[in-house]
């Protein structure tokens, strides 16, 4: 803790601040604002009610209007303070509102109604988190189903991708065979073909194979990625051949060499690829949108999209689900981010 504190308050000048301190702190704070501003805004907005979201100018914190219980009314009435006129200072409940005029009652005297203009009353508000934005995701929408679809696709596709890519990388880095360089060049060459170009042919293949509207239709086409093969191959090249020879002398089969020697030694690179794969799959939108058309197959990204209709958008649900969608990926990133630096740093060999 003391180290964190001294790190955060480190300065160049001793005693008083050097001008570079001002510049660096200003820059860093600006960076924090730039990075975290939208996220904080998103999280706070996800707790706002629909009315509050429509309000202009927007407010930072979510507010909700206080209500008063009045005898003779089933529902609580919206509470206002009167700022002008004979009732000035009184807290009133609003019963009706129309054409710039509000009909209010004083809770202590529920029988008498007063008619006031809107500028005579001011709403009583407090900070309140509209948690119903979240709870209705589970009640009105099948959030868990979408979450499960996304999770299943992400986990399966990532595992499959790691397996396929590492096996390809092993072959391309450790076996001498005719055409090895050509194969590698073709693999890397596919990076130059934009996804959108192969979208239609890919769709036809997936449909032919009967994977349309199936989660496997999303998982299988993404199983082999040129980036992953290349990343792992570059790492595996740095594993000395003598270790493999030693394993061969130790009577290990090639399959065993792959599992017991290559995979553990490539762990840093595999971790990097796993993080990338999880992020790609979780955030994937275009391809699932094409393959999955039935609501029960929707991923979270597709469900988010469905909140945005042509005529109106369900902002509270959209924002709440966006937050929930971000959480897992943020957690994965937080736990695995240290591997990104170490993995990429050691990919170039040492």
């Amino acid at each position: 803790m003391a180290r964190v504190l001294s790190f955060l308050t480190a300065t160049r000048g001793k005693g008083r601040l050097h001008w570079t301190d001002w510049v660096s702190y200003a820059y860093l704070i600006f960076g924090i604002f730039l990075m975290f501003g939208p996220v904080v805004w998103l999280v706070l907005s996800s707790f706002k009610s629909a009315n509050e979201l429509d309000r202009f100018p927007p407010r930072f914190l979510p507010y909700a209007q206080e209500t008063v219980e009045v005898d003779g009314f089933d529902d609580p009435l919206l509470a206002f303070t009167v700022v002008d006129g004979e009732l000035e200072g009184e807290i009133v409940g609003q019963t009706r509102r129309a054409a710039g005029r509000a009909e209010v009652i004083v809770p202590s005297n529920p029988d008498e109604r007063f008619r006031l203009t809107v500028d005579q009353i001011e709403p009583i508000e407090r900070v309140a988190f509209a948690t119903e934005n979240y709870s209705q995701l589970f009640e009105r929408f099948n959030f868990l189903k979408f979450f499960w679809n996304s999770t299943f696709i992400t986990v399966t596709a990532t595992l499959l991708m790691l397996l396929v890519n590492s096996m390809a990388a092993f072959a391309l880095s450790k076996y001498e065979f005719r055409g090895r360089t050509s194969v590698l060049l073709i693999v890397i060459g596919t990076l130059m073909i934009p996804q959108t170009v192969v979208l239609v042919p890919l769709f036809l293949i997936v449909t032919e194979l009967g994977m349309f509207n199936s989660l496997w239709g999303v998982i299988i086409p993404g199983a082999a990625t040129p980036t992953g093969v290349f990343l792992l191959r570059q790492y595996m090249i740095t594993i000395p051949d003598e270790i493999l020879d030693a394993a061969r002398m130790d009577k290990a089969s090639e399959w065993k060499i792959f599992w017991r020697i290559i995979i553990p030694l490539s762990a840093p690179a595999i971790a990097v690829l796993a993080i990338l794969a999880i992020m790609w799959r979780w955030n994937d939108f275009l391809w699932p949108l094409i393959v999955l058309t039935r609501t029960e197959n929707f991923t979270l990204q597709l469900a988010l999209n469905s909140f945005q209709g042509e005529l109106q958008t369900d902002w509270p649900s959209l924002l709440a689900m966006t937050v929930l969608t971000l959480l897992p990926i943020a957690a994965v990133f937080m736990f695995l981010q240290k591997y990104i630096a170490t993995g990429i740093a050691s990919t170039g060999g040492k």
Partner: protein, 358 residues
């Protein structure tokens, strides 16, 4: 029994022939060293015996059984690599047990074997460490242990000591020799260091450019080198070579400098007028007042108990003289020397082959 035989073994990469037909017969229990300058193909030859490198032509036989098409793992060999090639992610214990697990040895037996071997190699207190936490010498022991624990028919060593410092190298040399005595297995050892070869080997195979120059016991190679290359490669410091021509009558040699020296009258075949190269080891050269050959001193090394004089003959041929005790010689001084005629070697200058006959 584990006798290793090579019959006209060849290896080529495309059109480049790196091993040009080698015949070798290593008897059971022999410690055979392949020695040669870098690029001579000694490591390739070892890998061909191990099965890690396929052979292009010829036969490799172990116990009279041709193993050309048998996989490395099934030849019953174990190899110690130059870089040790320990599995970095496994503990020492796992490194030792990996090979045994692969052949389906029971857990109890593995534990027992690891116990024995680790005690023998004094690595029993390191069993739970990872290779990165070991010193160079300890890694070397683990690498040897990994080979020993599998009880192979033949041990193959690929320059195992080249990554160690000088002192440790001498220690490990002794340990490997002791290991060979204790186990009695056939061992094939590759090195570029002729001192290692001389001190450890029962038999030395000197290789150059993919060809076997000579195969025999260390002292035979030292005393009766078959050609100039072996004569120059075996022995430290290097043998001196002086070119000349056999004089009329054959009793002496006239060097290219014009000086002469008497030749041994038996043991060599030469003709008067033949261009020959005289080889003589530095310790068989002595400083003699009024000796037949003169040499100007280039540098002097005094080690206390012994001294080396490095000089050049009149035509620039370099010469080393090894003397016991201390001497007084100035750089630039011209000394006269004499060689011991009974200790000279004669080679045909053109073919490089020894003129010695038995």
């Amino acid at each position: 029994m584990a006798r290793v035989e090579l019959k006209q073994v060849k290896k080529s990469y495309g059109s480049v022939e790196v091993i040009k037909g080698i015949d070798l017969d290593i008897q059971h229990g022999e410690f055979c060293v392949f020695v040669g300058p870098s690029g001579c193909g000694k490591s390739t030859l070892l890998r061909m015996i191990s099965g890690l490198e396929p052979i292009s032509d010829g036969d490799v036989a172990i116990d009279n059984e041709v193993v050309n098409d048998i996989a490395a793992a099934d030849r019953g060999l174990a190899m110690v690599f130059q870089s040790y090639a320990l599995y970095p992610h496994m503990s020492v214990r796992q490194n030792l047990s990996f090979g045994l697990e692969n052949i389906g040895t029971s857990k109890a037996e593995i534990a027992e074997k690891i116990g024995q071997v680790s005690k023998m190699l004094q690595i029993d207190m390191l069993l739970d460490r990872k290779p990165k936490d070991l010193s160079g010498g300890q890694r070397q022991r683990v690498a040897i242990g990994r080979a020993v624990v599998r009880e192979p028919r033949v041990f193959l060593f690929d320059e195992p000591l080249s990554n160690l410092d000088a002192e440790l190298r001498v220690d490990m040399r002794g340990e490997i020799t002791a290991l060979h005595r204790r186990l009695g297995n056939t061992m094939i050892y590759v090195t570029h260091d002729q001192v290692e070869a001389m001190t450890m080997a029962d038999k030395i195979a000197v290789l150059r450019l993919g060809e076997l120059e000579q195969f025999g016991r260390p002292l035979d190679l030292y005393n009766r080198p078959r050609n100039i290359f072996v004569a120059g490669f075996i022995g430290s410091p290097k043998m001196n070579f002086i070119k000349g021509t056999v004089a009329e009558g054959g009793a002496s040699i006239t060097f290219d400098t014009g000086e002469t020296m008497a030749l041994p009258q038996s043991g060599f075949d030469y003709q008067p007028g033949q261009k020959v190269t005289l080889g003589i080891r530095p310790n068989h050269v002595s400083l003699v007042e009024g000796g037949s050959v003169s040499m100007s001193v280039k540098s002097v090394e005094q080690l206390g108990g012994e001294s080396y004089i490095y000089g050049a003959l009149k035509d620039g041929t370099l010469l080393t003289v090894h003397l016991s005790g201390q001497i007084s010689a100035e750089i630039g001084e011209v000394l006269t020397i004499e060689g011991d005629a009974d200790e000279v070697h004669l080679f045909d200058t053109e073919s490089g082959l020894s003129l010695r006959h038995d």
